[in-house]
């Protein structure tokens, strides 16, 4: 055990790491502890998942039957907009930052994150930002209703007053993300235990290091984009107004220069999670570790050079379409390397199928489905047909729900025994997996057909020929939503009690957090750096 250190008493402040958590509510407000902050992030994320999910329920309810059934079209547009924003910025991103906080210091043998006070601020900006964002729904003008991509001029000339609160909420989220990313980089580069060389780091740490670079590079660009929106709206600038020499399409370029790396921000840490879980339950080391690192870096670099594949129908010159098409398709090579390595890790492994492994396998299969539909969308002439249809909706929900969200849930089941010292209920976990997986495919698979048949996205009503698939999709949606309420029950049950977890937790688990720390780990882990083989 390296948590109960017997240090020699040198250093004037040697007592400071030994205090436990403070008592009461202020513990959570003032904490500088990476585990506390990780927990805060994860609960914020879960709250946002249920909030964003409830808006998805409104969307699926309205689309259950053709015709306007339940909500006004303007309110429907608010729902699609807020659902996307809340899920991307509120559910997925904070969940990964929460995992980073909990895991990175334990995985590299560090006493805490490098900049603990700033770590607190990264989190505590977010509740304010999301309260501001959510409050727009109650405003006279209603919430923003221009889609989560907030294209100009819908978000400038024709936007409701509440858009300004949305703009500032995005600024705050950006500040939070940049500070969080800086902290991750400083922690990984500066806080590793002796012997933990870069190429010995767990892939979750590697993928987060690269994700942090993406965040620092693109969140400020997003801040620039919303700042231009703000000045276009109130101060007479004409960045996105052709009448003054600007261009609404320029908004799309700036947005997607942020937006494309953003999708990798939401999936690279997922790759890290899967790369931890598959070897444990296949009882084999990860196949092709270094190729995984290089593939992650390649994806990150390429992600900066493909943004306009979201804009094939904006009338850009053919040379641009060709370039962005080929560059986009190129990303499938390093992504393919990853999928190949996960499958090869399992080859001839002694596999067992505990709940985290089920979610990880679900990830590999369904993320690949989302990746393949992405390949189709990346082909410029084909995208002309699919653009802004339900095919796109199906595509990005396969990569984000059965991709990113599945990896987050997998990470929860994999590490929660370590965090709490309690095993989750294996039977309930398996029910959660199969319930979710059947439901999510009923929900999203028919949307491919709807899109190919021409149903546009972000529309509250549709032609009669789309009725059956929409009803099927809605039924899947309600079932999937309910499954996540069931997940909330599992989470609370696990925190409150359960079978005592061993320190190693899983027979095949490796890594400092399993090999050198108790379950649950002490409030301050690694007061003495662990030996790294």
């Amino acid at each position: 055990m390296y948590n109960e250190t017997t240090h020699d008493g040198e250093g004037a402040h040697s007592d400071h790491d030994h205090h436990g958590p403070a008592k009461g509510l202020m513990r959570w407000v003032t904490t500088t502890n990476h585990k506390d902050i990780g927990t805060l992030y994860l609960w914020l994320s879960f709250t946002m998942l249920l909030y964003g999910g409830s808006m998805a329920m409104v969307i699926r309810l309205e689309l259950f039957q053709p015709g306007l059934q339940w909500v006004e079209p303007h309110f429907f547009n608010q729902m699609t907009t807020m659902h996307g924003l809340v899920m991307v910025f509120g559910a997925i991103m904070p969940a990964f930052v929460g995992l980073a906080n909990w895991l990175i210091p334990m995985m590299i043998g560090a006493p805490d994150m490098a900049l603990p006070r700033m770590n607190n601020w990264s989190f505590w900006i977010l509740p304010f930002a999301f309260t501001m964002l959510a409050s727009t729904t109650l405003m006279e003008s209603g919430a923003p209703a221009f889609g989560w991509t907030f294209y100009a001029p819908l978000s400038t000339t024709f936007a409701p007053d509440s858009t300004d609160f949305f703009i500032f909420a995005v600024h705050l989220m950006g500040i939070s993300s940049v500070m969080g990313a800086i902290n991750v980089i400083a922690t990984i580069l500066n806080m590793r235990a002796p012997g933990m060389t870069l190429m010995k780091m767990p892939l979750f740490v590697w993928t987060w290091l690269i994700t942090a670079y993406l965040l620092i590079a693109v969140m400020p660009v997003l801040a620039g984009a919303v700042t231009m929106m703000l000045t276009d709206r109130h101060f007479g600038t004409s960045f996105f107004d052709a009448a003054g020499g600007g261009d609404p399409v320029m908004f799309q370029h700036i947005f997607w220069f942020f937006g494309h790396p953003e999708v990798y921000i939401m999936i690279l840490p997922a790759f890290g999670v899967i790369s931890a879980i598959i070897p444990t339950f296949a009882r084999k080391p990860l196949f092709g570790y270094s190729s995984m690192v290089y593939a992650t870096a390649s994806i990150a670099i390429l992600s900066f050079m493909v943004w306009a594949h979201h804009m094939f129908t904006t009338g850009m010159p053919v040379a641009g379409e060709l370039y962005f098409m080929y560059a986009t398709i190129l990303i499938s090579v390093p992504t393919g390397v990853k999928v190949f390595n996960w499958v090869t890790t399992m080859w001839k492994g002694s596999m067992t199928f505990e709940t985290p492994m089920l979610w990880a396998l679900g990830f590999i299969v369904m993320f690949t489905i989302g990746g393949l539909s992405g390949l189709m969308l990346g082909v410029a002439p084909v995208d002309t047909q699919y653009h802004d249809t339900y095919f796109v909706v199906a595509h990005f929900h396969y990569v984000l729900v059965t991709g990113a969200l599945y990896s987050i849930i997998a990470a929860f089941y994999y590490w929660v025994p370590k965090w709490t010292g309690h095993m989750y209920d294996e039977r309930l976990g398996k029910i959660h997996f199969w319930w979710s997986t059947i439901a999510v495919n009923v929900l999203f698979f028919p949307q491919h057909f709807l899109g190919l048949a021409g149903m546009p996205r972000r529309i509250p009503d549709y032609s009669l020929q789309f009725a059956e698939f929409n009803m099927i999709s809605s039924i899947g949606g309600f079932a999937f939503g309910l499954a996540q309420v069931f997940f909330l029950y599992i989470v609370i049950k696990t925190i409150k009690g359960g079978e005592k977890a061993t320190d190693r937790v899983w027979e095949g688990a490796t890594g400092l957090e399993f090999e050198h720390l108790s379950s649950p780990p002490p409030y301050h882990s690694f007061n003495e750096a662990p030996p790294v083989k």
């Binding site: 004037a12 400071h16 304010f128 590079a217 000045t231 003054g244």
Partner: protein, 292 residues
């Protein structure tokens, strides 16, 4: 450190109230700004919010300074600060990149396209057939909606002098660093004073240039894409110069109190890095906004 494996010397602070105070200040500032823009609130909440932010920064940095002077930070903590500051500056570079991107996009694409370049014959023909592409763009496509500028801002008057001022300040801050390294506290403060004076001098001249642009050239924020990019780029840069000069002023006061040693003066270096970043951004501005 005698032991290579001890993490004990890495200072992990106790709980802190500064972040939550900062969040309250930030939120009040932006909520106040949004309501002010809608005419529902007066400007008072904005200033209260900003005051809270300034209070937070004073307190937070004050705590860090106290801890640093008490010797609570070891080399590894110092390195965390270095990584942190370096990547913070990179994030600032990317913020400016967005606005430079808008400038290049307008100059290379949107303005020529409105005049029919590339595959945009129909755009020019059906939207504003009389529009002619030019840069700096003085005559915008829809003149009624904007206040058109009479002249563009030249490069070789005040902007050139400002370039000289900032480049000189980059030199003086380096001279201050050299003085610090040879324990010459007197010249450290003198050179820092010169740097601060040059920095605020730059801001003053920039403000003078703005008033000239508004009054004599009718070059305004709402003069179309040229005015938009001109003011947003130079405005954010001017804001950063103001911040940098203020930071230098704090460093000067700390230097006068003898806070820095040749071995331990990262606060000085961080601000010097920031100052050089501001300097480099200006060179980009001078070349692409004023000159070419």
């Amino acid at each position: 450190m005698s032991s290579t494996t001890s993490n004990e010397d890495y200072y992990v602070p106790h709980g802190t109230y500064w972040p939550i105070i900062g969040s309250i200040g930030l939120s009040l500032t932006v909520i106040g700004t949004a309501n002010f823009l809608h005419g529902t609130w007066s400007a008072t909440p904005i200033f209260v919010g900003l005051a809270i932010i300034i209070f937070m920064m004073y307190g937070w940095f004050g705590t860090v300074v106290t801890e640093s002077l008490a010797g609570m930070y070891n080399k590894q903590v110092d390195m965390s600060f270095r990584w942190g500051m370096g990547w913070f500056i990179f994030s600032e570079v990317m913020f400016f990149a967005a606005f430079f991107g808008a400038l290049f996009y307008a100059r290379a694409y949107s303005v020529p396209w409105l005049d029919g370049a590339s595959n945009n014959d129909a755009t020019a023909q059906y939207l504003w057939p009389d529009f002619e592409a030019a840069w700096p763009l003085l005559s915008v496509p829809l003149a009624d909606k904007f206040s058109e500028a009479k002249h563009a801002m030249g490069a070789w008057g005040l902007p050139a002098i400002n370039t000289l001022i900032l480049l000189t300040s980059g030199l003086t801050v380096t001279l201050a660093h050299w003085a610090l390294k040879r324990r010459d506290n007197v010249w450290l403060v003198y050179w820092l004073f010169a740097t601060v004076a040059l920095g605020f001098g730059f801001v003053f001249l920039q403000a003078y240039e703005y008033s000239h642009a508004y009054q004599d050239l009718n070059l305004r924020l709402d003069s179309g894409i040229y005015g938009s990019t001109f003011y947003m780029l130079t405005g954010f840069h001017g804001f950063h110069v103001t911040m940098g000069a203020t930071m230098l002023l704090v460093i000067m006061i700390r230097a006068a109190k003898g806070h820095f040693t040749p071995e331990n003066h990262f606060a000085f270096e961080a601000v010097a890095w920031y100052w050089h970043f501001v300097d480099v951004v200006w060179l980009g501005l001078f070349i692409f906004v004023y000159w070419l």
